[in-house]
């Protein structure tokens, strides 16, 4: 994934991915089902977006078992935090330049 001309990261073009990053920016760890509830998306949809973010190493995964049921938690990596902040600055700049 590349950064487009205006400084916006391609990874954040999707609403779901932007939502995931926003939620992870203010929470240490969030599990899959909570993310699903927050974003109101289907399992498959969310899983594919999470995989995409994992692939570019913007988020990390932590797998554990609660009552023998698998529980997957996600967190933001340092790289992801930087990319998200850069994206916010780029958005800010674009809005300012339009005015």
């Amino acid at each position: 994934m590349k950064i487009s001309l205006d400084g916006l990261h391609k990874a954040f073009e999707s609403k779901v991915r932007l939502g995931v990053m926003s939620a992870l920016a203010v929470n240490d760890r969030i599990d899959f089902s909570s993310l699903k509830e927050l974003l109101e998306v289907t399992d498959g949809n969310l899983a594919s977006h999470l995989k995409a973010l994992e692939k570019v190493e913007f988020i990390g995964v932590e797998k554990s078992f609660i009552d023998r049921k698998p529980n997957t938690k996600y967190f933001m990596t340092v790289k992801g935090k930087k990319a998200f902040n850069d994206h916010l600055s780029a958005l800010e700049k674009l809005i300012k330049s339009h005015k």
């Binding site: 939620a23 203010v26 674009l94 809005i95």
Partner: protein, 206 residues
């Protein structure tokens, strides 16, 4: 190429997601107002009908007491349950109106952050009652309730922090003026809650 509107919408969405995922915003101002009314009613009943006038720090639990301590404690517990029940019911209604679930991760974080001060305070107050130190019940309940709110304000409206600080200050003052315990109780749990509730209703009414 995206338009300016899209960027503004993106930012609005980011902000809303950050807030929704980290703050519990289903608490209604009415919960505060109702809790305040229950507390004032309780203080009135305790004063008029149960003859509760804690004017000293120490009361012997075995000797004759000027008031029925068991009934006063029962009354206090009833008020607590009524206030909590109303808060949960109103939050539930508000959450379902906004298509959110009440028992979400932020609600859990909010409760968890209140738990430690509340449980410690509750045990301490119970020990004080057993030791006959009735005069300390009001100051300690205000203090620990205030600490719990102050702690929990991270996960909800910022006004809760001011509410918590107010209760802490009232708790400290009432530790000195033990003889005015019931008055401070009515002030801290009654009047302060009602003012807070009216302010929240006015500010966040939609």
């Amino acid at each position: 190429m995206k338009k300016e509107q899209d960027y503004i919408r993106d930012i609005a969405e980011i902000r809303s997601m950050m807030e929704r995922s980290s703050k519990f915003l289903s608490l209604s101002g009415w919960a505060g107002i109702m809790a305040g009314i229950y507390a004032l009613l309780g203080a009135y009943i305790a004063f008029t009908f149960l003859n509760f006038r804690p004017e000293e720090l120490f009361y012997s639990t075995s000797g004759p007491s000027p008031f029925n301590l068991t009934k006063v404690i029962l009354l206090a517990v009833t008020i607590l349950i009524m206030a909590l029940g109303t808060a949960v019911f109103l939050s539930y209604k508000r959450a379902s109106k906004r298509n959110e679930k009440l028992w979400n991760p932020t609600a859990k974080q909010l409760l968890a952050s209140m738990m430690v001060p509340l449980v410690v305070g509750g045990i301490l107050i119970l020990l004080m009652i057993l030791k006959g130190l009735i005069g300390l019940v009001v100051p300690f309940s205000l203090l620990f309730y205030g600490l719990a709110l102050f702690n929990a304000s991270r996960y909800t409206y910022q006004e809760v922090k001011i509410l918590g600080l107010t209760e802490i200050i009232l708790g400290l003052i009432s530790s000195w003026f033990v003889e005015y315990g019931l008055l401070f109780w009515a002030l801290g749990f009654g009047v302060v809650h009602i003012i807070y509730g009216i302010h929240m209703n006015y500010k966040y009414k939609k």
